[in-house]
């Protein structure tokens, strides 16, 4: 109860705050100017979920490469896995009064509306990657929400499921590691997996466990599944390569690396190495190819083009505003076709600038969203 005697001070404190507010009061402009922005006023902003996941690291790499090519300054936002942090950091950059061309890999789909609203209020342009609410469409939000972009999750699941099922001879038992429980990306990929397995009546999906995109949890969950099903497991599917890294380790520890096949999404460099080395007699049976650096650069470049006025979002067809980009299915057989890209990021950036965001191999635009789940 040391609270008394302090009303005077408190009043003074509020006075100070009020003064402070007065200085900042006139700031939140609603002028969502759709005027082209001069190139030298633009700042590229790439917002990633964290900085330690290989996919995110690749996104950062791509953003940096594009920034260098375009000669436009870049800011990286690390969300630290938290929606709260993500939104506040993006807003902090907007608060500096710069005109941003943003690419954001949202932590959760519900983050998209507040981010878009903030960008709109600051007169910037944003492209959202991977997650957004289903009913939150760019064409309803005006030009500042330039586009939503992703690779098809269903396709990814189908791709890898097919490769995995084939590798075990169309017969056997598999288990699946999903991402965070409420993630649409994970859900679409699992839906794709299940859909593809319909063509393989002899392949049984024993169990699906969430491993939160995390290698450590991938390891633990795989250990549990191995204990539960023992030698019954012939294949392990994961919604992302982060988890497959843990799963491979668990299977190695169990001494079954030659008997279990893996399939997952992303072809991260470490997994690419495993595939290349034909680890465990070709244990990595299937992957998808798409790259964080490509996604980040496509997203940033889309926003950048809108910001400079080179494209006018409202005039774009719908598939260019809610877009699905090509995803390639990788097996040990066609693996060599995809190794060339990782070493040539700069060259790819040149292609991107030449061909535009929708027409650059190996990830051209294939169709428009929203993604349909298979029945």
């Amino acid at each position: 109860m040391h609270l008394r005697k302090s009303i005077g001070r408190r009043v003074a404190a509020f006075g100070l705050v009020a003064g402070l507010l007065a200085t900042t009061a006139c700031s939140s402009t609603t002028a969502s100017s759709n005027q082209p922005i001069d190139k030298k006023d633009i700042v590229l902003v790439a917002s990633v979920i964290n900085t330690t996941n290989p996919y995110m690291a690749s996104m950062i790499e791509g953003a940096k490469a594009l920034s260098k090519k375009l000669d436009v300054p870049l800011e990286i936002v690390d969300s630290e896995g938290s929606s709260q942090t993500e939104i506040s950091k993006i807003q902090a950059i907007l608060a500096q009064g710069k005109k941003v061309a943003l690419m954001v890999n949202t932590v959760a789909s519900s983050d998209a509306p507040p981010i878009i609203n903030a960008v709109k209020a600051a007169g910037g342009y944003a492209t959202v990657w991977w997650n957004k609410p289903d009913n939150f469409e760019p064409w309803d939000q005006g030009d500042n929400f330039v586009a939503f972009q992703k690779h098809s999750g269903v396709e990814s699941g189908q791709c890898t499921a097919k490769a995995l099922a084939d590798s075990i001879g169309g017969k056997g038992n598999i288990v699946a590691l999903a991402g965070v429980l409420d993630s649409t990306t994970s859900q679409t990929r699992v839906a794709g997996l299940k859909d593809a397995l319909k063509a393989y009546p002899d392949v049984k999906l024993l169990d699906t466990r969430p491993a939160n995109w995390d290698p450590q949890l991938g390891l633990k969950e795989t250990q549990n599944l191995l204990a539960k099903y023992g030698d019954k497991i012939d294949g392990i599917w994961a919604a992302d390569d982060g988890m497959i890294i843990g799963a491979v380790q668990a299977v190695k520890d169990a001494g079954r690396i030659n008997n279990v096949k893996f399939a997952s999404d992303g072809l991260y460099p470490p997994v690419a190495d495993m595939m290349k080395e034909k680890m465990g007699n070709g244990a990595i049976a299937g992957e998808t190819f798409h790259r964080g650096f490509m996604a980040a650069a496509i997203g940033l470049y889309t926003s950048y083009l809108a910001a400079t006025g080179e494209i006018k979002p409202s005039e774009l067809p719908k598939e260019k505003r809610n877009s699905l980009f090509k995803l390639s299915c990788v097996t040990p057989n066609n693996f060599a076709d995809y190794t060339k890209f990782d070493g040539a990021i700069d060259g790819w950036m040149d292609d991107l600038i030449k061909n535009g965001p929708w027409g650059t191999e190996p990830v051209p635009l294939v169709s428009g969203g929203p993604e349909k789940l298979p029945n």
Partner: protein, 344 residues
């Protein structure tokens, strides 16, 4: 934050005032039987539900393997909680120490190869972070809850900075990476290491000043001070020990994963604290022990494993663990209920 009776010792009797002095020799009292019985009951239930899979050597090895990290952390966490403080920095320290270890031993990035010194360096990081927690807590009188919360972020930050923006550092196959999962006497090395930590912790708690003073401080800091115990110094030591344990767990986790990851400790904090509480160590300090925590860890690990084996939906798994936690504490504290009991 809890300085009153929050004793949760299963079947632990309330001090009976009229009792004649008891014969001592507390090491084999029946007090621990409550938790052990619960563990046995849990095993029985899951064995009944999964007759073919639960009680297999392979699954038991999996449980022991999964128990090893929380067991190691539990040693430090129990000591800290015995003094009446709490250490939330576990996951951060694990991340920082794990990354330090991976980057300083032979790895795919080739950053450095200091051989065994990498382990020393990683443990030093843990000791340093433990010391940071302890010093801020004891010297600046900031509650341990909030200091270690801050150090959690500091540790994660260190791990993230070390990770940088390069590729994942992998440990080469074979060699030290295979050690944790190699079986000795049919048991994974990781668990043997954890068992060694638990035994060492029990020895410290019983036979050293550090352990005895931790109990004393948890009972009453004022009285301990009056008895000449350098309270602040020993609290600092306890945090250093906790940092050491977390770092050791971080190294072990990195070895098991075979790669560097800033979030290598994810999920271990609440698991460990729940295990400490279920084991019957009082969050108020002064009551409980490391063996109790070990039993608590085995209970929770067996529970998680058993739920997966029984095919319980992952959506409600956290609810089952939460209910078990509440039920365990409720059952343990029910005999202590009284109109005057203060719980915080």
């Amino acid at each position: 934050m809890t300085d009153k009776d929050t004793g949760t010792g299963l079947l632990e009797q309330a001090p009976a005032p009229s009792q004649p002095p008891l014969r001592a020799g507390r090491r084999f009292e029946f007090k621990n039987l409550g938790e052990v019985l619960a563990l046995v009951g849990l095993i029985a239930v899951f064995t009944a539900l999964n007759p073919a899979t639960f009680l297999t050597p392979e699954n038991l090895r999996t449980i022991l393997d999964h128990a090893s990290l929380p067991l190691i952390i539990g040693v430090g966490a129990t000591l800290v909680i015995l003094t009446g403080s709490i250490d939330l920095s576990v996951e951060g320290v694990m991340g920082a120490a794990g990354m330090t270890f991976v980057l300083m031993t032979a790895n795919s990035r080739g950053s450095a190869d200091l051989g065994p010194w990498a382990i020393v360096a990683a443990l030093a990081v843990g000791v340093g972070l433990g010391m940071l927690s302890g010093l801020v807590h004891t010297r600046l009188k900031v509650p341990s809850f909030i200091v270690t919360l801050g150090v959690w972020f500091v540790g994660l930050g260190i791990a993230t900075v070390l990770f940088g923006d390069q590729s994942i550092p992998f440990l080469p196959d074979g060699g030290i990476k295979a050690w944790p999962s190699t079986l000795t006497f049919g048991v994974p090395n990781a668990f043997l290491l954890a068992a060694a930590f638990v035994l060492a912790g029990m020895f410290v708690a019983r036979f050293t000043r550090l352990g005895r003073f931790a109990y004393a401080i948890g009972d009453s800091e004022e009285i301990s001070k009056g008895n000449g115990i350098p309270v602040l110094r020993y609290k600092l030591y306890v945090f250093v020990v906790a940092g050491f344990c977390s770092a050791a767990a971080g190294v072990l986790a990195a070895l098991e994963l075979g790669a560097g990851s800033a979030t290598v400790g994810v999920g271990t904090l609440f698991l460990t604290i729940a295990a400490v509480v279920i084991g019957g160590t009082s969050l108020g300090g002064g009551k409980g022990g490391i063996l109790r925590t070990a039993v608590g860890v085995l209970m929770l690990t067996a529970l998680n494993n058993g739920l997966i084996l029984s095919g319980v939906s992952p959506n409600i798994q956290s609810a089952v663990s939460g209910t078990v936690l509440i039920a365990a504490v409720l059952v343990a504290t029910w005999p202590h209920r009284s109109r005057l009991r203060i719980v915080k």
